[in-house]
Symmetry: C2
């Protein structure tokens, strides 16, 4: 199998950010390989496997969401990218600026994801 | 030993970027733990240990350099940050926008560094 190209990886990042903005938890989890690991934020402990990952994203499923890619860097089989995610639930809206680091398999599914952010990076919009 | 604080990590990133801008290869390597790993760019193969790391940075020692931190995210014992490095040698100047991912030991020395960039991120200024 070949390594994913930079175009494959850029498309996989876009697919992930689109799913986080508009998709169900299952659609987000489908961006990941079956036995992928996911840690969000880094330091909080890693999840493993699509079921655990889907459960994590089910927490945002009922919120209105928006994602915006700021900077994307691709190297080898990995990517690091700065993006902003906005989540609205009831009358509250929260914006978080995150740097995600991902590796990908030959089909450009996410094999690991680590999200760098802490409470200083969270902004209450209302 | 305690984990480094977010302030310790922010200072360590600043020290590293200052050393890349103004320091000798030895001063840059001093930001790393003795048995640290370093891969720049990701996919090119990792170096291990301060001697190999110092050798890597000796290639830029004679250039005029500048670094600018764009975005820093800290989580757990790690950091991911977008920065721009400009290198001038003879009549040529090159600018590269990079996302670095680092882990740190309890003394906030770099234990691993992975630099995400590829040839698309290199801009010839002259």
């Amino acid at each position: 199998m070949n390594a994913p190209s930079t175009t494959d990886i850029a498309n996989a990042v876009k697919r992930y950010l689109d799913a986080v903005a508009d998709g169900t938890a299952e659609e987000i989890a489908d961006c990941f390989a079956e036995d992928a690991t996911q840690e969000d934020p880094v330091g909080s402990g890693a999840r493993r496997g699509r079921a655990e990952i889907e459960k994590f994203y089910s927490a945002i499923e009922s919120a209105r969401r928006k994602t915006e890619l700021v900077t994307l860097r691709i190297a080898g089989d990995g990517a690091a990218f700065h993006f902003v995610v906005t989540t609205e639930m009831d009358e509250h809206a929260v914006e978080i600026g995150v740097i995600d680091v991902m590796t990908f398999d030959e089909q450009a599914r996410i094999t690991s994801m680590r999200a760098y952010w802490n409470s200083d990076d969270v902004r209450m919009l209302r």
